[in-house]
Symmetry: C2
Subunit: 139 residues, 2 copies
DNA sequence: TATGCAGATGCAAGGGGTTGCAATTGCCAA
DNA sequence: TTGGCAATTGCAACCCCTTGCATCTGCATA
């Protein structure tokens, strides 16, 4: 997404309509510093436009995922979070004892990606992965 | 789980009660050839004991996860599946175009596990992972 | 600028899963 | 064998998310 303007152009070019709901959701995702949940987007947009329906938020996020403008991560708290894809691919190590979340560099996964391609011909999409386990302190 | 009997002993030893509901759920998980969903377990046990509540199934599966007797996998179809841990650790490559599921050897993940331990001191629990992407045919 | 319609929205119902609480019941100790 | 109590269950309500459907509306076209 980088800038909302670019996303708007991309949507328009592909024939998607630029409804006010969509534009406001876009802005909310884009304005979020880090991972934001659908509920948070909903609450934020509702301040200006209380008619918004939560299903519109989910449908818009689904669309943005398909267009590869956001990624989705499940950090294991029963609530999926979304993230502007242009703010960088990154991954998380989630400690299921203390709940701590460590950011992990994308490079750590490169050998795995390569191995999967070589051994299985499988093109893994490791855009935004969460790996569970125990952190240094809890182990 | 290997045999239901062993699991029963483990539960008993740890002070968990052996209720008929639990025993029947255990048997269903153990009898399943491959991954089984909570709903499937519920339906199966209900044949003999129609009083069973689905939340008991979920709570029992939660317990079995904690005791490391089953693993949980989300193959992306909106329904989590369970698998007897003793039938071997394995992982899946899920093609999100054709839906094909390729079984993946555990060994492929060993370098990743080692790298995470070395670089982050993080002890990853990669028991039953699903990796999404495009398979050979769809790529 | 007015028109038509495919795409988008709101609504309500539904699906998978979780949780608080009161009632029930394994199981230990007497 | 019985009594007591903490673990377990069933129930109902709830949470997050998805979906079918009727209505509405951006936007291309005339």
């Amino acid at each position: 997404m980088v800038k909302t303007g670019e996303t708007v152009k991309k949507l328009s070019r592909k024939g998607y309509r630029l409804t006010p709901q969509r534009l406001m959701i876009l802005e909310a995702v884009d304005g979020a510093d880090d991972h934001i949940s659908a509920e948070e987007i909903y609450a934020q947009v509702c301040d200006q436009y209380p008619n918004l329906n939560i299903s519109t938020v989910y449908r818009t996020l689904e669309l943005l995922k398909e267009l590869e403008l956001v990624t989705e991560t499940d950090l294991g708290d029963g609530r999926v979070r979304y993230h502007n894809i242009k703010k960088g691919h990154h991954h998380h190590l989630v400690c299921h004892r203390c709940g701590n979340i460590i950011d992990m560099d994308e490079a750590v996964l490169s050998p795995l990606k390569a191995a999967l391609l070589m051994q299985y011909g499988f093109n893994a999409e490791l855009r935004h992965l969460a790996i569970f386990g125990l952190c240094k302190e809890c182990k």
